[in-house]
Subunit: 124 residues, 2 copies
Amino acid sequence: MQSEKIKLAKVLEKIGDYFSPKVVGEVNDVYVKVAKIKGDELPWHNHKEEDELFLILKGSLFFEIEGEDGFVMEEGELFVIPRGINHRVSSVEECQILLVENKTTAHTGEIVSTITRTIADQLE
Amino acid sequence: MQSEKIKLAKVLEKIGDYFSPKVVGEVNDVYVKVAKIKGDELPWHNHKEEDELFLILKGSLFFEIEGEDGFVMEEGELFVIPRGINHRVSSVEECQILLVENKTTAHTGEIVSTITRTIADQLE
């Protein structure tokens, strides 16, 4: 069990790839992760049984939900995408985010793309 | 199910009492909360079966774990206090934090003090 404090900026600094979350905290059945987003390669996907929380740490994120107008999320804003809802996120400039997800949540749902990361990748 | 983005600063602005968390997101079996901390009234307590995550949004927090030296957490730092471990937090100046806890986690564990809040209080 983790027993040290974690400086999010330090973890983010070390992340080389965009759309590649890293686990920073384990809390019961969830992982808290950070990621850097830049570009629009993330495919549309959903997590059938799992909600997913996004918090913007730095920059801004374009959030799209199938059938709805896209919207911009700014630093200090949070959004929960309910289970089963198709979504994707993108950003022109680098955006840093925090995620709260079940340990079982697959990165890009049932979709597999070149950017898809396994849980093992995210725990490295 | 929540489907609007939440501005954490707006929620924090409305919180009148210190040590009084408010739920800002529901993600599967966990609540994500924000709280303002000032003073040292929070009693020593633990959560028998539940880990609890603290992320500092603003200011600094003094974190104490029974039998260990206290330490300071600064903005952008995160700590998971494992289940069953006695702890308390305090701050001389106002500190704003984000918490990730199981829905079942009691505010001050099995201890009841004048500052103890129910889950209903936190969902108001």
